[in-house]
């Protein structure tokens, strides 16, 4: 059994660049280094040609027209542009935005920024399964609502929102619908027309492309969406995003999109099988383990699991040849446990015990089996060290204990 060391199983955080993508990019670092905006010589024309080819590849992945794809530095920028660009452009129409508590920070903090500028923001809660309630969404819409922003797939728990229905509700009420589609595109079918999406954020490095490049999809028909740019300058990308295009990055993004679209059906089935293998083996080996977020409405590669009575960082230390992440406070820069798990109603004690496994294109069955064994052994060892596990086995209900917390 040959497994890579260390094993990378954190594909929601980022993905390795596919060798085919790297191949496609290299010429644009070497001989074809022209600025795509240089209109007067071959260096520029070749670069522009490559960009337009990539633009079509990205558009095809989401069933959009190439003219609706604007390249950015990544999804964080796209999220910022979606919220701030709409708020400024449509300020005469209204000043209310609806989003959700489990969104990525790029959305939440952009929304908070808008609040400081006088925009009213509604943060919809989610159920235990991580889903937004359509009735609550509908009830929240007012005649001042100009934007609904709900992510397609959550980065922590992998839950898939009912985007088509959310889009339908938005359309019916004449409200623009933006979705952060970063964790969805290339992993599940994503069609901006079928799903009634007006604006979408995409990221290359989540689909085996390079970091530092992403895109925003901006609908041109039914309705035509206008955005105020957040970067002023040379007027690139139809005035929506000034700045010299990251040609090699964009080329890589296009190639990554092409591969993702072609391989999606086979890859997603393979990942689902691997994920289920990991989940069922862990559940067979260990008691008191819980999947966080809906198991059915979930992207294939994501498994977010809590291992009761074992703290997340200590678990990661024990599996130090495996790269995954945790919702524990100790593993976050802010020392706060995961706000997404909190929104799902996962108790803080269980949030501290959560591990997020992110399976991807390059993970194998051997790796899954190795991870299962190592995680099982480490959890068992740490439960022997755990006063909580001991108390539970003595029949004590931890909820009744008065803790002398610091």
């Amino acid at each position: 059994m040959a497994v890579r060391n260390p094993i990378y199983m954190d594909n929601q955080a980022t993905t390795p660049v596919d060798p085919r993508v790297l191949e496609a990019m290299l010429p644009y670092f070497k001989e074809r280094f022209g600025n795509a905006a240089s209109r007067n010589h071959e260096f520029g024309w070749k670069a522009e040609e490559a960009v337009e080819r990539a633009r079509k590849q990205v558009a095809d992945l989401i069933n959009a027209s190439p003219r609706e794809i604007v390249f950015t530095s990544g999804a964080t920028e796209s999220d910022n542009l979606a919220l701030k660009g709409v708020a400024e452009m449509y300020q005469e129409k209204g000043n209310h935005v609806i989003t959700c508590v489990t969104e990525h920070k790029a959305i939440i903090d952009s929304a908070r920024h808008l609040e400081k500028q006088g925009v009213r923001v509604t943060f919809l809660p989610v159920g235990k399964n991580g889903m937004v309630d359509l009735g609550e969404l509908e009830a929240a819409i007012t005649d001042k609502t100009i934007l609904i922003s709900i992510m397609t797939v959550n980065n922590e728990v992998g839950v898939v929102q009912d985007i088509r229905e959310i889009g339908r509700v938005a359309r019916a009420r004449g409200v623009l619908f933006h979705t952060d589609a970063v964790q969805a595109v290339g992993k599940i079918p994503f069609d901006v027309d079928a799903m009634n999406v007006d604006i979408a954020s995409l990221s290359a490095h989540k689909m085996y492309g390079p970091k530092g490049v992403g895109a925003i999809y901006v609908r041109r028909r039914n309705p035509r969406v206008l955005l105020s740019p957040i970067l002023d300058g040379g007027g690139h990308e139809r005035g929506m995003r000034s700045g010299t295009l990251n040609v090699p990055g964009i080329v890589g993004f296009g190639e990554a999109a092409r591969i993702a679209g072609e391989e999606l059906p086979v890859e997603s089935a393979r990942l689902l099988a691997l994920r289920e293998r990991l989940r069922t083996k862990l559940e067979e080996n260990l008691d008191e383990v819980f999947v966080n977020g809906d198991l059915e409405r979930r992207v294939p590669g994501n498994l977010n699991m809590s291992f009761a009575y074992v703290e997340g960082e200590s678990l990661l230390m024990g599996i130090d040849d495996i790269a995954v992440s945790s919702g524990s406070a100790c593993t976050s820069a802010s020392l706060e446990p995961s706000y997404v798990l909190k929104a799902l109603g996962v108790g803080e004690d269980l949030a501290h015990t959560s591990i997020r496994f992110g399976l991807g294109r390059f993970n194998t069955e051997e790796e899954v089996d190795y991870v299962t064994d190592k995680v099982t052994a480490t959890v068992r060892r740490l439960r022997e060290l755990s006063p909580l596990y001991e108390m539970v086995r003595e029949g004590i209900d931890l909820k009744t204990v008065k803790w002398a917390a610091e």
Binding site: G312, D349, S386, P387, A405, E406
Partner: protein
Amino acid sequence: MAYSDKVVDHYSNPRNVGSLDKSDESVGTGLVGAPECGDVMKLQIRVDEASGMIEDAKFKTFGCGSAIASSSLATEWVKGKTLEEALAIRNTDIVKELSLPPVKIHCSVLAEDAIKAAISDWKKKHGTNGG
């Protein structure tokens, strides 16, 4: 985050993991922290009443590598000390020994609290709760 060698050592080879009999007269039990905080330490001592010396110590911890290391180290340090000497152990000594970064200092504070809680429990049992 890179762990110091000592933290890794205590994590991989924790000293004195286990439990003493809570109801035993010579045992003091300290339970500090809370599951919601991600840190719970149980530290127990067995005290020889005649000499006032801590003969044995055991711990169990729910927490990160630094928390496990801090409590493991605490049990090592209290063994063979008198109650007064054990009470003098400061979290800053633990920080220094384990090279804990600022973000992990609270783990050492909890370990110091655990020592004090165990001693306080023993003293309560022996009617001498000077704290």
